[in-house]
Amino acid sequence: MVEKLIEICLKNRFLVMGAFILIVLWGVFALRNTPIDAIPDIGDMQVIVYVDWEGRSPKDVEDQIVYPLTTRLTGTPGVKTIRSTSEFGFGMVSIIFEEGVEYYWARTRVLERLSFATGGMPVDARVVLGPDVTAVGQIFWYTVENGYYCPDHPQESFAGDGVCPEDGKKLMPSNYDLSELRGIQDWYVRFQLNSVSGVSEVASVGGYVKQYQIDVDPYKLVHYHVMITDVINAVKSSNIDIGAKVFTEGSVEFIVRGLGFIKNTRDIENIAVGVHESVPVYIRDVGRVTVGPDFRRGALDKEGREVTGGVVVMRYGENPLRVIEGIKERIEELEVGLPPGVRVVPFYDRTGLIDRTVNTLRDALTQEILITAFVIIVFLLHFFGSLVISIVLPVGVLISFIFMRIFGIDANIMSLGGIAIAIGVMVDSGSVLVENIYRRVAERQRHGELTAVQRLETTIEAAKEVGRPVFFALLTTIIGFIPVFVLTGQAGKLFRPLAFTKTFAMAGAAFIAVCLLPTLAFYLVRGRLRLPDENIMSRLLRRIYRPTLDWSLNHKKIVVAIFGLVLVIGLFTTLLIKQEFMPPLNEGDLLFMPVLLPGASLTQVMEVMQKQDMIIKNEFPDEVEWVVGKLGHAETSTDPAPVTMIETIIHLKPQKSWRKGMTREKLIEEIQIKTKIPGVSPIMTQPIRNRIDMLATGIQTPVGIKVFGPDLGQIERIAEELERIVTNVEGAANVFAERIGNRPYYELEIDRNRIARYGVNLGMVQEVIAMAIGGMNVTQTVEGRERYPIRVRYMRELRDNPEAMNRIFISAADGQQIPLGILVNASRKLGPAMLQSENTMPYVRVFINVRQDIIGLVDFVRLAQRTVEEKIESGELTIPPGYYLRWSGQFESEVEARNRLAVVLPICLAVIMLLLYVAFKDLPSVLVVALSLPFSLVGGIIPLYLFGFKFSTAVWVGFIALFGVATDNAVVLLTVFKNIFGEKKPSDVPEVRENVIRGGLLRVRPIMMTVLTTVLALVPIMFFTSAGSEVIKPMASPIIGGLLSATFANLILIPIVYAWIKERQLTRQKIQH
């Protein structure tokens, strides 16, 4: 089949060339249009339903909205689990879909459900489907801040003080307050940026939302016999514009409008709320109307100065580079329309990271291609021949981009990394093919110049000869990589794209090798060709190899002992290497995340944030470019941060301007030390990583127990008992049950007897509590494009402490005013800061770390489960009806991966063995070939140890890639041996050895060539320090080391073992004779 293909291609050379030009064009198109991001999204495939219920406690949000919502959302098709959290003022329902479900399909299903699921919910709660974004969608953050401007040229704004560049006048600072800046952000900047293509949502954060505040004095309400509900109703009904069709005068139509929108505070003051003794009572009589800040749950700070700003969230599947480009263009356009001096300044911009990552990979790819080409030139000493082989690389890369586009795989550090580790291997098939053509043509040319027809014949023949082995090697490489495809969970999300791209690249390369290379070789491999004997490189190799092999064949025991020793040492080294899940990727920007304990007030958190930001800015002038801190959450469902959480983005200067000896790690530590404030934990992470973590749900320890049940107190108790029980199970380390009740509450429990006695109904009491203490946005003003809320609430000093709350009046049936303190039992309590549930059932988690050096995960779980069951049976642990436990955690995915690998790995091995068997048709040869595997493993481990890498999934993927190619050369060598031994049967031991040496010499050049292309191509990567290299390096290092050691094994150990087998056969034959 392969042979036929080669022949067809060679006979239709023009067609082939044309097709390839088209493919290249297609590839270039794909390359330009593939979305590029730095880091793949490894979060769950989830759709978030966001619940906004301002000012309500987690308990209320859970009971009244989130729980009923989740019950109605269960049963949505394709859903794996529904997890929900309820926090202060908002709730989130994460609907996690099965892998492989189409994103927009999933959203539609949720939307379908939502259309009836929200029935009967409190009217002031807002239940919405989150935007169509993923965790990594927050690509651009900016501040809207004051700056300087020249009064004569107000179009341009400046960051710092100075003089106008046009006329030298002194610049004026702009002095907009935070609510004005927020107004500009909310009503101008936000909508403009939202309309940029690819932007799903722009959310505001920081500053204050302007609000008209009616502060009512309850004593005056009593005086005038007005109730707070009267005030609310009066305001509500005093803010409306009406259209009343038209009237005609002559032949002209006039549109009739009734005007009544509230426009300023005076309009509100003059609203009449009732009549007292024939005199109208106005709002101004019972309260105070001011413009003030709305209740806020987020703030933004730039180096100690409060600012306002926003975040741009990109739509699912868009190209971040292009979106950010669009945003920047739009900002430039809209800046002209901003008030003089006001500026839109970015403080987080993904482009930098993406550019750096892409540059790293582009540099890696170009260097690899150049090095590979160079190696080929050195070995072949024929420029055009080398060119032909090298063409595999760019075209192969382009083909993999075509496939990526077809399969919807984004370009990022992982998928491009897959191509990077494939480069050296990609040329293998090409070099084998071209080398053979070259040799054949050269051999035939010895007898004089060839005609075109003869050359074509020779080329076809030579190509056919190696077509099958090339195809075969490709097959083993691809099959060897199959285990990566079955990885699940986060590892799967990270490495499956890599596996895809690597396979695409390999397949592309093989395809080119078979179809295009013979044609190109036909045109370009001509002129003076050197036979292997004439080539300096070959001669050098042979001069070194021959005596080495000769000596080894005569001292088999010593050589085998040395190899055995290396094996043992390598295996011991394994024990020294630590494990980790994934090498962390350096994102450039730092995310400093100080966190206060639940219960901290916004003012307290703000104080901490401003101090820390100032310290970071002032103490690290050489390293830090800017610092912008955010506390609480931006108004988007992709940012569920509580007020006690600060997220400060630290943008660093280029490393060359840093102080001497400063490293990223040191800088992080120093920042943490200098900003250490008691009670605040200085956590340092990275922006994208953090986003993914924040939206991830579930258990992140190897093992966990979820205790489900209706009552929070009960499940907490059970969890604590489990904590005690499991701690004593062998192998358990650090067992802890989650505590949920630690946020201060002030609870007003209404006494039903007393309200009955006073003739008040409960609903009225609650209404007054909500309006008087919490306040209520009753309507909003319409001022041009802007809309601002109007809020009614008691005067601050009359509601902001328990004493004052007791004096809030409730109107009884007979018109008497009853103070709240008489009707309720008020108490301070600790309650949950957050409530969570899974598939509608509240749960508390018990986290268990396992000492995996003592006991395997799965065994541990079995043991722990049995212990817990025993305790339940003996009555030590009581689990009431309606409560249950579920064991969960990372071990689940390990079990799943293990189950899958248990099937896939043997099948892969069996298929490879079968292929080898098909090639050799005898078992000893297959076993000899397999010898190179342990040595490649050992060789791969040693560089890990030297470079200080840990065993991570990345390293394992490197090993899997290595195993795919490690045997290739052994196969080649053994094929040659078989041929030689087939041609000339040896009669005595020296002849056996002579045959082996001859075979070795024949293959040493191509073997060294393929090995060196792969190894040398990867070497420069090991010295990269730029963004993205930290993931590629651990993948590349086992390949480098393993391939080198495998080559030694292939070139020395395998000939020895093969010779030994043949010698044994020979002696046995002699004995039999």
Partner: protein, 440 residues
């Protein structure tokens, strides 16, 4: 053969590396503090002083050794002629002392958001995935939280000395300027009855008895209308009706309605501040003259009668006014002779219902949490109405310094570092019993 080649290459590589490393040692150069050294003691080679290394301590690298300087400037001096300073110190091995390890050892790792998480190893929080932070083993097992001055300044800690103060509660009541002709009439009847009795000659026992009966009836009516005994006695003596109840003169009456929860705090003689919308800037001073002995079923309130001076008769009968009764807080009951109580600002108290905690600064040692017992919140006598104070019944002594700002941070810190585990769970913390056993 190949191995030899690689070995040579390797050897060359390592030699170059070694040379590079060695070459660093020739000159004295500025460097960055090794974070592992922070907090340790070192001796400055220039001044010879011993000091604690902190993050911005100047460091000079000379001949591969790091030297820590006590102050900026020393480093410049040192770099001019390092050997001079190094040879000065005989007996030492010629370099800045890298001394004792910190006496604080990491006890376990915990999460700042979830202090219940305790891990023996470094890592990330299983709940939120954040990096765990170390909690240190303390050499002294005490509930005192030591804090450096710089850290205290960063936390914005402010203290307030606990003093004995006069505290009072302010009871705000809705009131009205009295227009009560009925009461005036009743008073007139009462006075008339007294006068009548006085006119009766003492022999006429029956008339006297009847007059007494009349007086008693009138008195009874007065009391029903809100006058109390003392007031009635005054009336009997002065024999003057309170005519300002109808027409304002130099003084006025204000009737205020007190609710059940307030009555216990109101007594005759307490001073009252009255404000009126008619005179928004003026505060009228008055006194509680009587707490009505009867409770009004209709309004669910108790009538308080207040007399106040009304010099220009600005307050007119029937006007609505806002009254604030100043009710002093006594610790040993209302009649206690000691009218001053230990007072702390409300900010000092962390109260979550289960615990009331105040952080106290102990000079030279740190901050200590105290569980306290407090009385009802009040205002400082003569102080602003913005600042509120709690009377402390137990748990504090006079002149102790309580933390009024930054105490939430102290409380958090104690919960994170495990101070809270010692006999105290943090004001906002979990109960002691539920804290996981200290694991080693």
């Amino acid at each position: 053969m190949f191995s030899k080649k690689t070995m040579i290459a390797g050897a060359v590589f390592f030699t170059v590396l070694l040379l590079l490393l060695i070459s660093c040692g020739g000159r004295a150069e500025k460097a960055v503090v090794d974070t592992g050294m922070i907090g340790r003691q070192a001796m400055c080679p220039v001044t010879g002083d011993t000091f604690t290394i902190h993050a911005s301590t100047p460091v000079v690298v000379y001949k591969g050794e790091e030297y820590y300087m006590c102050c900026p400037g020393c480093d410049l001096e040192f770099m001019k002629d390092p050997d001079k300073y190094l040879n000065d110190k005989k007996g030492d091995d010629g370099r800045g002392q890298k001394a004792e390890p910190s006496n604080e050892e990491i006890a376990y790792w915990t999460c700042s958001m979830h202090p219940e998480v305790r891990s023996e190893t470094e890592g990330s929080c299983p709940i939120c995935g954040m990096t765990l932070i170390p909690a240190y083993e303390r050499s002294e097992s005490s509930d005192i939280l030591p804090l450096k001055n710089s850290a205290a300044a960063l936390a914005g800690i402010r203290t307030y000395p606990v003093r004995k103060e006069r505290l009072h509660r302010e009871i705000r009541l809705a009131g009205r300027v009295a227009f009560d002709p009925e009461l005036v009439t009743a008073q007139e009847e009462y006075i008339n009855a007294i006068k009548m009795r006085d006119d009766i000659e003492s022999i006429d026992e029956i008339s006297l008895k009847r007059a007494e009966q009349l007086i008693a009836n009138a008195e009874y009516r007065l009391r029903l209308m809100g006058m109390d005994e003392a007031e009635i006695r005054i009336l009997a003596r002065s024999r003057k009706v309170q005519s300002s109840l109808v027409m304002p003169q130099n003084e006025s009456w204000v009737y205020a309605d007190a609710y059940e929860s307030d009555i216990g705090w109101i007594e005759r003689g307490q001073s009252v501040i009255v404000k009126s919308a008619a005179q928004p800037d003026k505060r009228f001073a008055g006194k509680v003259m009587a707490v009505s002995p009867t409770f009004s079923q209709g309004s669910r309130s108790n009538l308080i009668r207040i007399k106040l001076s009304n010099p220009e008769a600005k307050l007119k009968p029937g006007m609505y006014v806002e009254t604030t009764i100043i009710s002093p807080i006594h610790v040993g009951g209302p009649r206690s002779p000691e009218s001053r109580v230990l007072a702390i600002p409300v900010e000092a108290l962390l109260d979550t219902g289960s615990r009331k905690v105040v952080w106290v600064y102990i000079e030279g040692r740190g901050y200590q949490p105290r569980t306290v017992k407090i009385g009802p919140v009040g205002y400082l006598h003569g102080g602003s109405t913005e600042e509120r104070y709690y009377p402390v019944l137990e748990g504090l002594n006079e002149d102790e310094l309580v933390v009024t700002n930054g105490n939430f941070l102290l409380d958090s810190e104690s919960r994170i570092t495990g101070v809270a585990a010692i006999g105290y769970g943090g004001a906002l913390g979990v109960d002691d019993q539920t804290l996981p056993a200290h694991q080693h």
